[in-house]
Symmetry: C2
Subunit: 123 residues, 2 copies
DNA sequence: CACGAACAATTACGCGTGTAAACATCAAAT
DNA sequence: ATTTGATGTTTACACGCGTAATTGTTCGTG
């Protein structure tokens, strides 16, 4: 089962640093999300059920560690979008952003560099 | 309100050709999705409610036309992903696929061409 | 040892979604 | 005019999600 958007917010905290307690997660996410303690606990429990995090008892509380890596998550999400909208091919996606003028100077420079590296690797 | 994945399947049919009747939509989508007539009707009604399609009476049935364009939809979806996962920047996204070896030769060629065109446009 | 504070687990609830059955309508055929 | 077939509309229902209140558990302290 896929992890939801709210759950991803929690994962994000754990990806930045782990292990963490529920309280620490709330502290980091609270301001932006205005969540209650209970909300974070629920999300953590759902993530546990989905095997996306691991919980280790530490005295009276738990320390949570991600099992699903950010790479894996990003992979799933972006592959999904790519397949659904761009026939699984990357170039049309970039072309789309290009048409929308969403490529910054920096993007362009980095893309150029990336292609250069692929080129170097090649020979 | 955003349009859901099942709804997007229906939109896809209409984006390929419109206007269409519910029956035609089912015929095109049925094999792949194994949906019943009622399912398609429900989806069409929800799309109507969301103002994503328009229905025009034609005798005893309706002809459905998309109001939301594919461009708009792709725009929303991909911007969402980009913002959530790559800080809104395109280059990191491409880098991601590159690391995953998901760039085909064709992708690379097309990206190169794209950058070339951006370059030409510049001067 | 009993109690309260700190945590976690369970339960709840409204909403959107996927899927469809049930119901309504209306034109065509008998 | 009545029935029937084609269509659309309404209602349904289980499930995941966002959000949280409620309940359970356990440790430290009086």
């Amino acid at each position: 089962m896929a992890i939801s958007e709210a759950e991803a917010v929690v994962m994000d905290v754990l990806w930045r640093e782990a292990p963490r307690t529920a309280e620490e997660i709330l502290a980091e996410v609270g301001p932006a999300q205005a969540w209650q303690e209970g909300t974070v606990k629920s999300l953590l429990n759902r993530l546990l059920k989905k095997k996306a995090v691991h919980a280790e008892r530490d005295g009276r509380r738990y320390l949570y560690t991600p099992l699903l890596t950010r790479e894996q998550y990003v992979q799933q999400e972006s592959k999904g979008l790519l397949d659904r909208l761009f026939g699984g091919r990357v170039a049309p996606l970039v072309a789309h952003f290009s048409e929308q003028r969403k490529l910054s100077k920096k993007d362009i420079a980095e893309l150029r560099k990336l292609l250069q590296e692929l080129d170097d690797e090649q020979r």
